[in-house]
């Protein structure tokens, strides 16, 4: 009883070494985990942003197309089938037509670089223009598919949208990772829009 109360010694060398080794291992695990957490959080955020960006384009095109009087695919600065034109009547004055154009633009005309590829929207009928509000970046053509494609055999105009946002391959190549960050961050737009009436 007296020995226990009056104990004044610290840990033995073996105890200290075991403690240090355990703490070292735990630190490695914890710091590694925190770094992984940070990387994953960044990757997750990028994936969510890419998916949301895609959803915005598809949703905007689908809503506009429902009321459209004209739904067509034009040639743009980046080649044939790269511009989607939607014409809708002005709710305030049905004799006036509102135009919305979505154009895929590969600024350097090099399909191997995604950093300068954008989708722009504009309110003018100017398929050949490169101007407009950028609504999507880091996009690319999907294989040999047309960006905007109008299939035949339908009763009303139907437009298929084929685009990829982010990394083009999985695992991602260095060229794409330079823009999207490490890991596979990508979203495939394979959507369709059509008129209601």
């Amino acid at each position: 009883m007296l020995q226990r109360i009056n104990r004044r010694r610290g840990m033995t060398l073996v105890e200290v070494m075991i403690s240090l080794v355990l703490m070292l291992l735990l630190s490695i695990i914890t710091i590694g985990g925190m770094m992984m957490h940070a990387r994953m959080a960044r990757a997750n955020l990028t994936r969510e942003q890419i998916a949301e960006s895609s959803r915005r384009l598809v949703s905007a095109a689908q809503v506009l197309a429902l009321d459209a009087t004209v739904l067509r695919v034009d040639a743009g600065p980046s080649g044939a089938n790269t511009v989607l034109t939607i014409e809708t009547p002005d709710p305030a004055d049905s004799s006036v037509t509102i135009i919305k154009q979505f154009a895929y633009i590969d600024r350097d005309m090099n399909p191997n670089t995604i950093g300068d590829n954008v989708v722009v929207e504009r309110d003018t009928n100017s398929p050949g223009a490169t101007t407009g509000k950028v609504i999507m970046e880091l996009c690319s053509v999907v294989g040999t598919k047309k960006v905007f494609e109008q299939p035949t055999g339908t009763a009303r105009p139907l437009i298929n949208i084929n685009l990829r946002l982010g990394d083009r391959t999985s695992p991602a190549g260095n060229a794409d990772n330079a823009f999207t960050g490490p890991g596979y961050q990508s979203f495939l737009i394979s959507a369709s829009v059509s008129q209601l009436l």
């Binding site: 004044r8 735990l26 695990i29 985990g33 197309a65 009303r156 495939l188």
Partner: protein, 251 residues
Amino acid sequence: MIRFLDIKSNFACLAPRTHGMTFVEVLFAIAIAAMLSVGMYGSAIYTMRQTARNIEHTYALQIVSSAAAKVRAANFSKLTGTTTAADFEHQFFTNAPVSADPNVVNGNAFTLGYELRGFGTGIKKQNKNWSILTIPDKSADWEKNEFAGHVLAVTAGKGANQVMAITQNHKSMVKNGIKTVMVRLDQTLQDPEAGIDDPTDATGPAVSWTVEPDSTSVFVVDYGLYCDITTTWGDGTGYKTLTETVYAPTN
């Protein structure tokens, strides 16, 4: 001396601590830190899985809304008739797997299904209020009062170009291999709740067709049809379903 020791042992816990942690205390602290670390890893993994689920849901929305666009663009006569494999409309009669992103190995496959309803051929008068509609086997079942308050239009066959209001409808049924549904019709649209839910009841104003329809009469609801589009993905606890109903007008 004994008294002094007793007092000291009684107040030992209040005395200033003069020694370091014991080995057991250090191990205990490390164990707590390890548990926190495991929790952090778990949180990171959960976040990653949740993000993947969000992306899958966005893909599912894209698949369903695109399928709705295709239904709207389809030829109405082929939606309600027969198709061949070469027809655009043929896809609506098969449950096809859809790959959201072919780059993702072991990614979830989405299954897309269509159910069309709101059309048929054959109107037989049961009594002065109720009629029996014949709907195709391949079309989806009608739920009770699903089309109450909607419009029934005869588009071809005997009695074409006439319109009636559906005030009530029973659930569709199959009898002798023929799928039928009983509907209460009226010249004007009435409150479905105010109607009589008895197919033998013939009170109230009689339905008065200018030309009485028969088994050749082709009818549609609301000058079109309705299509339930369903996409499913995942399995086990991760099994998910997303459904959208789209209206496809005649063209």
